[in-house]
Symmetry: C2
Subunit: 143 residues, 2 copies
Amino acid sequence: MTNKPGGFAQPKLAEQAFYSAFEFTDLALMMAVWDAQEDIVCIHPMGERLSGTAAISASFKSLFNNGSKLHFEAQAAQELIAGNIAMRTVYEKIVVIGANEQPNQPVLATNIFRLGDNGWRMILHHGSPAPPLEQGAPPGSLH
Amino acid sequence: MTNKPGGFAQPKLAEQAFYSAFEFTDLALMMAVWDAQEDIVCIHPMGERLSGTAAISASFKSLFNNGSKLHFEAQAAQELIAGNIAMRTVYEKIVVIGANEQPNQPVLATNIFRLGDNGWRMILHHGSPAPPLEQGAPPGSLH
């Protein structure tokens, strides 16, 4: 692990910054979390696969400009590290701030980080609708 | 890479076996594709996170017993290899055989493989509903 300034010393810290960037709609922080490579991949819930810095940055810019303030809580994280790759899966509890609402349907996210010269950076995010964490719903009917 | 008998010499071959196991509802083949570790993770579309061989095997047994015969086509694969980890994202075109139907809504899958003594084995599968491949739909409204 590296403690080089500007880098994240642990995958978990990079992940926390990812969700902070969401909460503060901070595009610069969001893109600092991502590895600046063309092979990075982002799949938003129900969205298409986005590849590369330009497409991913544009998608977050669009999301951040929609006006909603969101609070994220990453729950029940599981982490698997193999060499310079860390794979984390988390349930995202998402609340729309000011809407006085119950949390939205949780999102299950796979977050993958690569350790490079600038610490751990995100290389893949795949988010999708999940059943409530408490419920233990059966898997989808197709697969 | 290894060519040891019983192992997959390439991540793509392990992925093909994964979809073949689905088509033939072959639980033994399916579980031979997976690494026999407790840290493996499987997320079926709209389903909860499953961890470990027992839970994942039970989920596929349940899916294979529901009577539907499915045809899978993994399209537009993108692969990223870092050391002994391979990350592939594919659009799964799924057709229910005999139903004389249009393909179902495609599934976007992240498939992750680890190279070990027995070749490339799956360690993570995350499938979720995707927009049609042709359409280029915008990302989901929340994220």
